[in-house]
């Protein structure tokens, strides 16, 4: 059929207009911004000092003074969640950064070279992928000692193969296109073509994968600190708070409910954001409404 319905390349204002009609995107965006704001505010102000123990106020239920209650040391749970958000986001963000920073060039390189190099790189990639990520992260932190930095490295390493795969798959679809051939005929090297033509064309793909990995990173960080392998006390973290709450579930359920909610809402928000971005940027997923 000669139905050349030209899909116009989006203008910035067009994308924004569409973004605001997309419920998933708006919800995810609002949640993410709120969590980020909370983390940032915690640097300058929290309702209470999270390192100060006030035994007199221990295990109090939610009240006007302590909205989310206090833990078994009398620390304000809202304040701890705010500071914990900072920690979770930092770990997940840097881990995604490591994954992207190493994985994307690796994947793009493999796609550009092809042949044996591609094969070898991707098989090593598969090998890393085959380890259960959390288990290996536990191994790494067990060897090098617990702490936020080691958690970042551990989660980061297991983000590499994800991004390498996505980047390679995206790049492989771009390489046979005619404009790449034209660039080659113009004498550009493979590296140059990868940077100038391939990466901009797979950027949206990576952006979507990035938000998803970000959510997974937050979960992984929570898991590691729950096991005591993440950020160390007195630095509060969501996973650690859940661990502390575990034995007091019956007497102080708020100690588990609020950090748990924080994790769920953050992950949900990021996933919605990722879905929303994918919907908005992918012309194929556009529906007639």
């Amino acid at each position: 059929m000669t139905l050349h319905i030209d899909i116009p390349e989006e203008t910035m204002s067009g994308i924004l207009a569409k973004a605001f009609r997309n419920t998933a995107f708006v919800t995810g965006f609002v949640i993410t911004v709120l969590i980020l704001a909370m983390a940032l505010v915690s640097y300058v102000w929290t309702p209470y000092d999270v390192t100060k123990l006030v035994i007199a106020d221990k295990t109090q239920g939610p009240s006007l003074a302590h909205w989310f209650g206090t833990d078994h040391f009398g620390r304000d749970i809202l304040s701890m969640i705010m500071v914990g958000a900072r920690n979770s986001i930092a770990v997940a963000l840097v881990a995604v950064g490591i994954g992207m920073g190493v994985g994307v060039p690796l994947g793009a390189f493999a796609a550009a070279r092809g042949g044996l190099i591609d094969e070898a790189l991707m098989r090593v990639n598969d090998l890393v992928f085959a380890f259960p990520a959390l288990l290996s992260a536990i191994m790494i932190t067990a060897i090098f000692g617990p702490g936020a930095v080691n958690a970042i490295i551990a989660i980061g390493i297991f983000n590499i193969p994800v991004f390498a795969r996505v980047a390679r798959a995206g790049a492989l679809a771009i390489w046979p296109r005619e404009f790449i051939l034209a660039a080659r005929a113009a004498g550009k090297s493979r590296t140059q073509i990868s940077i100038e033509h391939v990466l901009p064309n797979i950027a949206t793909l990576l952006l979507v994968q990035g938000t998803i990995q970000f959510a997974l990173g937050i979960l992984a960080e929570a898991g590691l600190s729950y096991l005591g392998l993440g950020a160390q006390p007195p630095m509060p973290s969501w996973g650690r708070m859940l661990f502390d709450a575990q034995t007091r579930m019956v007497v102080a359920p708020w100690m588990a409910i609020f950090p748990g909610m924080a994790i769920v809402i953050t992950v949900l928000g990021l996933n919605l954001l990722g879905d929303g971005i994918a919907d908005i940027l992918d012309p194929k997923s556009r529906r007639q409404r």
Partner: protein
Amino acid sequence: MSLLEIENLSLTIGDTQILKGMELSVAPGEVMGLVGESGSGKSMTALTVMRLLPYAARASGRVSFDGIDILAATEDQMCALRGDDVGMVFQEPMTALNPVKTIGEQVAEGIRWHTKATRAGAEERARRMLDRVGLPQAKFPLSRYPHELSGGQRQRVVIAIACALKPKLLIADEPTTALDVVLQAQILDLLRDLVAESRMGLLLISHDLAVVTEMADRITILRRGEVMEAGDTARTLSEQLHPYTRQLAQASTHVPARARPHDTSQGKPLLQVEGVTRDYPGRRTSLFKRAVPIRAVDDVSLSMQPGQSVALVGRSGCGKSTLARMILALDKPSSGAIRFRGETTTGKSEAELKPARRDMQVVFQDPYGSFDPRQKVEKLVAEPLHVLDKKPTRAERREMVAHALHEVGLDQRDMDKYPHEFSGGQRQRLSIARAIITRPKLVVADEPVSALDVSIRAQILDLFAELNQKLGIAYLFITHDLTVARAITDQVLVMHDGKIVERGKTNEVLDHPQSEAAKALVAAAPDLHRAIARRMQEQG
């Protein structure tokens, strides 16, 4: 009585008017040709008849098929019609078939759905239908998958699906545009026979006036959603009363004015290809047997003089694009040597190739795919400047891009636009601007006009001819379209199964082909004048 009658049909999608007061009718056993350039609303007319329009489309007017008011029919009524009484053949046989289902399943699907036949009964009928369209049991069992078939064979399957239930009306939307001329002639023959056999009405949609003239009893010429002229094919096209009809007819047989071809008998050749062969690894049939390589290009030698315009013609899959890529040093020959300006280009590194790259450029077929959608024209057209020894400054670069755009008839302000802001013809101009910006000695053009409308095509051919005269650029035109070869080249090479089977002066080869391959190409090529003459003769 007419089978299909369209009266005063108007169609809008969003705020865009697609069709305006469209009139058309098809009688049983009649072939109606619907001609127009892209965007004229041909496909939308077909989709209206099938009621397969996009959601945002609003149609008004009257469309009646066999006494049924199509625009008022319920979805259930339409489902009963589609595939049973109205069949449709699409342009792209690659995407019109489901890749994960066998051809037998796909042909039988419609039969089972509409006739409630048993699986065995439906397969039996599917088998007979595939035999009828020229896919016999022995070579094409029902269990074949679409990817195991060639383009022409797939189009036969699509036709088998459309005709399986002996529809009263068949709509064929550019059924042969994606095929080479020889396959096109075969598919058109098949359609003609099927129409004659079962007194089917055929609505043939095409941008190719010659194809429609050969096939259609009556013709409707559409432009921007309005019928320009309609009537008996032979009379309409021989009299050419309407100016637009005349314009279309002239554009489809357009030959650019060219001064005397360059004297090419002496001097050092620009390009020499010597005994070049390219093998691709074949598919392994067994773990222990070595795969038999597929030979795409087989011992090809040719030479081109500076300023010469050469056509490389052949059917699809004959190896012409592979040869072009090797000439452009984008692919390596398995054996043989390619010399450009006396220097060997085979086996050189990208850095050593830089001087050669400056002097050879390429124009691709698809004006939509040959530009990175995320870059602006300035960067895209300037891309080959990268091979210059001295990197131009930003101002110099803009100057050169502006000059190149001017040479291809575009405005220099266009350089800050993105490719999607241009039409197909304009993009092909951009493509040419990109190719000539380094003042190359050779431009390889791979089917540069086959994706364009006839009037745009005429303009682009003119541009090629003009640049050849003005800048002395040698062209290697790769095409399956002989009118293009005739219009713009001095020499022609005919390629078949990886070998060059015939070569010589363009007019001589095309008028008196010697080899089988060349004869087949010439015989199958649709020719407007010939088709009109034949039509007139038939009617006496």
